[in-house]
C-alpha cells in the first residue's frame, strides 16, 4: 500500500482486453519509472446477491445465471445444486445427475475452447509484442485458419450440448430444484456421437499445442507472473478430479495439505472474505492462515495440482506428462494454466463420450425431493475455478440471503500478484513503456481466464486505452487501440 501518491505517475490499462467483463490495471511509477504499486481493479458492480432477495427459490437458477454470458451454465448448476438441498432432492436420479453432468462438461468444453482459441492464443501464437492489429482472433483466422476453425467447432460442440440439455445455448432452464426438466433424446445423442471422433481428435491436438508451446518457451514462461501460492478445488472421494461434485481440498505451494475432504456445506468454517476500498471484488482467504497468507488459486492449474489423478485415460496421460515436464506437484507457474486448461478440455470431451453411451440419459425419472431445508450451499468447478452459491430460503419459499463467491474472486489476490510480478520484471525502470510491455500484464491476467463481470464483449475490437497521468491528474500521454 502506497501512503502518498504525490509525485508519482499513474499508468492505467482500461479496459483490460480479451477477458470477460470490465476491469482496469493501474500502475504507480516514481520519477525513476519504478513501479511502486500495481493493482487490478474490478470497476463493475452487479448486485445480484441483493436483488434476488425476496424472490421464490425455484427461479434462482435461471435468474443468477444472468451474471454471465460465457459461463451461465456454471451459475445455473451451482444454484440448482443449492436448491436441490432446499427441496431435499440432493440425491438426484441417475438421469438428472447425468444430464446435468453432460451440460456441465459441454460448458467446460465451450468455455475452455473460447478462452484458449479466441482470447489467449493470439498472444501465444503471435508473441506478446506482436502488432495488436494482428494479435487477435481475426489474425488467428487469417494466419492459422485450420486452428481457428477447430477452436470455433470445439466451442460449437459444447454449445450444442448445452442447448440439448438446457434448452438454449445461453441462459437455458434445464436444471430445476431436485433434477432436470428434460432428458437427452436418442436423436440428439446420435447427432453428438456422429461428430465425436473429430472433436476428440481436435481436443487431443489442443493439449499438444499448449504442451509444445510451453516447453518451447519455458525459459520465458517459467517465471512469467509466477509465484508460490496455495491451490484449492473440489475433489472426488477417491482423490480424482471431479468438475461437477466433490469435497474441498486445499494444498499449499509445496503440496502440503491445508484442508482435505471438507464438506462444502461447511465452507464458512474455513473461508472468509476481506473487503478492500479500491475494488468491488472481495479477497477470500483460508481462515486457518489469515488474510495475508491464506489466499489461494483456483481453476485449471489449481485443479490439476490438487487432484491425485484424472479418471479418463487421455487426460490422465496428459496430466502425467505435464508434471513430468514441469516438475513435481504443485506447479506454481502462472502460464501453465493454459496447458492445464487444455488437459481439462480433453477430460471434458472424454466424459462427454462416456455419458453419450450411457442409456440413463434417456431415462424419464427426472426430479426428486425430500425433507425441506432452509439453507444450502451449491458448489462446482466452473471453467475458471470453484464457484460457491449459498442461499437461505424462508418458510414462504422466498430467498432471504445469497452469497456468491465466483472463481475470479478466489483468484483476485493471485491475479494481483501476477500483475505485480510482471510489472516489476518488465515495466519497472523502463524509460518508455511500449504497448507490448503493457500487454504482458494483460497476458498474465488472461492466463487466469478472469470473468470480471461475467459479461461478454465484442471480439476483435481491442478497445485498450492507456493513459499516463501526472501527479496533478493531467493526462500527459494517451495511447488507444481501435
Amino acid at each position: 500500500m502506497v501512503e502518498k501518491t504525490k509525485g508519482l505517475k499513474r499508468v492505467v490499462i482500461e479496459p483490460v482486453t480479451r477477458v470477460e467483463g470490465h476491469g482496469k490495471v493501474s500502475l504507480l511509477l516514481d520519477e525513476q519509472h519504478r513501479v511502486v504499486q500495481a493493482r487490478l481493479h474490478i470497476v463493475e458492480f452487479r448486485g445480484f446477491e441483493r436483488f434476488i432477495q425476496g424472490r421464490p427459490f425455484w427461479e434462482i437458477p435461471v435468474t443468477v445465471q444472468r451474471l454471465c454470458g460465457i459461463c451461465p451454465v456454471s451459475h445455473h448448476l451451482a444454484a440448482a445444486k443449492a436448491m436441490d438441498r432446499i427441496v431435499g432432492g440432493e440425491k438426484l436420479t441417475p438421469t438428472a445427475e447425468k444430464v446435468r453432468r453432460l451440460m456441465h462438461y459441454g460448458q467446460i468444453l465451450q468455455s475452455h475452447a473460447l478462452h484458449f482459441f479466441h482470447l489467449s492464443a493470439p498472444d501465444l501464437l503471435f508473441g506478446f509484442d506482436a502488432d495488436p492489429a494482428e494479435r487477435n482472433i481475426i489474425g488467428i483466422i487469417k494466419k492459422y485458419p485450420d486452428l481457428a476453425v477447430q477452436g470455433v467447432l470445439l466451442r460449437k460442440y459444447g454449445q450444442e450440448i448445452i442447448k440439448a440439455t438446457a434448452g438454449k445455448k445461453i441462459h437455458g432452464t434445464g436444471a430445476i430444484p431436485g433434477g432436470v426438466n428434460k432428458n437427452l433424446s436418442i436423436a440428439e445423442r446420435d447427432g453428438f456421437l456422429k461428430e465425436f471422433d473429430q472433436i476428440f481428435t481436435w481436443a487431443k491436438a489442443s493439449v499438444k499445442l499448449t504442451a509444445d508451446y510451453t516447453m518451447e518457451h519455458l525459459a520465458e514462461l517459467a517465471n512469467f507472473g509466477a509465484f508460490p501460492s496455495s491451490h484449492m478445488s473440489l475433489i472426488r472421494k477417491d482423490g480424482a478430479m471431479d468438475l461437477y461434485h466433490g469435497d474441498l481440498r486445499c494444498i499449499d505451494s509445496t503440496g502440503k495439505t491445508i484442508i482435505d475432504h471438507v464438506d462444502y456445506q461447511d465452507y464458512l468454517q474455513h473461508i472468509l472474505e476481506e473487503v478492500k476500498d479500491w475494488t468491488y471484488m472481495k479477497f477470500p482467504f483460508l481462515k486457518a492462515l489469515g488474510p495475508e497468507k491464506g489466499w489461494y488459486r483456483v481453476g485449471p492449474l489449481a485443479r490439476i495440482n490438487t487432484c491425485d489423478f484424472i479418471d479418463t485415460p487421455e487426460a490422465e496421460a496428459a496430466r502425467k506428462a505435464f508434471f513430468a515436464a514441469l516438475g513435481a506437484r504443485p506447479c506454481n507457474m502462472t502460464m501453465a494454466y493454459h496447458w492445464a486448461r487444455m488437459i481439462e478440455l480433453v477430460h471434458a470431451v472424454e466424459k462427454i463420450g462416456e455419458l453419450l453411451h450411457d442409456r440413463d440419459l434417456q431415462g424419464t425419472d427426472l426430479v426428486t425431493s425430500g425433507p425441506r431445508r432452509g439453507e444450502a450451499v451449491g458448489l462446482l468447478e466452473a471453467p475458471r475455478g470453484t464457484l460457491f452459491h449459498h442461499f437461505r430460503v424462508d418458510e414462504n419459499d422466498r430467498v432471504t440471503m445469497c452469497n456468491l463467491i465466483v472463481s475470479t474472486t478466489h483468484n483476485n489476490e493471485a491475479m494481483n500478484s501476477a500483475v505485480r510480478s510482471v510489472a516489476a520484471e518488465y515495466i519497472s525502470g523502463k524509460p518508455h513503456i511500449t504497448e507490448g510491455l503493457l500487454n504482458r500484464i494483460e497476458v498474465a491476467i488472461r492466463a487466469y481466464d478472469p470473468c470480471l463481470s461475467c459479461a461478454t464483449h465484442a471480439l476483435g475490437r481491442m478497445p485498450l486505452v492507456v493513459q499516463l497521468i501526472d501527479h496533478e491528474g493531467n493526462v500527459i500521454e494517451e495511447k488507444a487501440r481501435s
Binding site: 425476496g54 424472490r55 421464490p56 425455484w58 427461479e59 437458477p61 435461471v62 435468474t63 444472468r66 427441496v87 438446457a166 434448452g167 438454449k168 441462459h171 437455458g172 432452464t173 434445464g174 430445476i176 430444484p177 426438466n181 428434460k182 426430479v367 414462504n396 419459499d397 422466498r398
Partner: protein, 242 residues
C-alpha cells in the same frame, strides 16, 4: 342460423352472429383473430385491457364487450389498429416489472406472446419501475404483482367459477393492485391451488408454487405457434388456460 342472424363485416369479410354475441365471439367463430388479453372464454366480458380495440363504423370499441349489430363495418387487422394495440401492450410492459428472460411464465405468457405477435421491440415509453409487493404467504400459490396487468381474470374466475369472493382490486391509478380479502395475505383466504382463478392468469402473476421451469424450452405453449393461431386455423375457440 335463424332469421335473427346478424350479418356484418370485419375487414370487408361478411360475418354472422347470433343476437347477444359480442363482435369478438362472432369473429372467433369466423376464424378471425382479434388480439386480446383480459378476455377469456367462460368469463364475463370486462373490457379492461383494450387490446381488442376495433373500429366500429370508424369509432374505437372494445370488441370483447361490444355486441355485434346488423350492418356494422368493423376494422380489425389494419395498420393503425396494429399500432394502437402495440402501444397498449408496450404500456402494459412499462407499467409493471416484466423480466421475460427469467420469468417462469416465459413461453406460456399471453402478454409476452402478444408482444411477439405484434412485433414489439423495446417499449418506446419510459419504464415506471413500480415498487410492488409479492404475496408468498399461501403454501401453494403466490401473487407476483410485478407481473400483474390488472386484467381481472383471476377476480372474475374466482367469483364466477370458483364461487369465492377472495380477490379484488384495491387502490386507483398506478396504485391499483389485486389483493386478497385479507390483510394477512392469501394464506388467510380459502384460495386453493386448483382454483380456476389460478389457471386464469394470463401472465406470471397468480401462480402455482414450485412449478418454476418444469416445462423445457421447446415444449411451452407459444414456443412454436403465435398466440391466436388456433383461432385463425378455425379450431375450436381456445380456452387459454389449457
Amino acid at each position: 342460423m335463424s332469421d335473427k342472424t346478424i350479418t356484418f363485416t370485419i375487414d370487408e369479410v361478411e360475418v354472422k352472429a347470433r343476437p347477444g354475441q359480442t363482435i369478438m365471439e362472432a369473429a372467433d367463430e369466423a376464424a378471425i383473430y382479434i388480439p386480446r388479453l383480459c378476455s377469456l372464454k367462460g368469463l364475463s366480458p370486462f373490457g379492461a385491457c383494450r387490446v381488442c380495440t376495433v373500429l366500429v363504423n370508424g369509432r374505437p370499441q372494445s370488441s370483447c364487450t361490444q355486441p355485434a349489430a346488423p350492418g356494422i363495418v368493423v376494422e380489425n387487422a389494419s395498420e393503425r389498429l396494429h399500432d394502437i394495440r402495440q402501444d397498449i401492450v408496450e404500456m402494459l410492459f412499462v407499467e409493471g416489472n416484466h423480466f421475460c428472460m427469467f420469468c417462469e411464465k416465459s413461453g406460456n405468457c399471453e402478454l409476452q406472446a402478444m408482444g411477439y405477435r405484434l412485433g414489439m421491440m423495446e417499449p418506446k415509453y419510459p419504464r415506471l419501475w413500480p415498487r410492488r409487493e409479492l404475496d408468498a404467504s399461501h403454501p401453494d400459490i403466490f401473487i407476483d404483482r410485478d407481473r400483474c396487468i390488472l386484467c381481472a381474470r383471476c377476480i372474475r374466475a374466482s367469483r364466477e367459477q370458483d364461487g369465492k369472493h377472495i380477490l379484488g382490486f384495491l387502490g386507483r391509478g398506478p396504485h391499483k393492485r389485486v389483493t386478497p380479502d385479507s390483510s394477512d395475505g392469501l394464506v388467510q383466504t380459502d384460495a386453493a391451488v386448483a382454483d380456476a382463478a389460478v389457471a386464469a392468469c394470463p401472465v406470471g402473476s397468480l401462480m402455482r408454487k414450485r412449478v418454476g421451469f418444469g416445462i423445457p424450452i421447446g415444449q411451452r405453449k407459444y414456443d412454436h405457434r403465435p398466440i391466436g393461431s388456433d383461432i385463425e386455423s378455425g379450431a375450436e375457440v381456445p380456452d387459454e388456460r389449457k
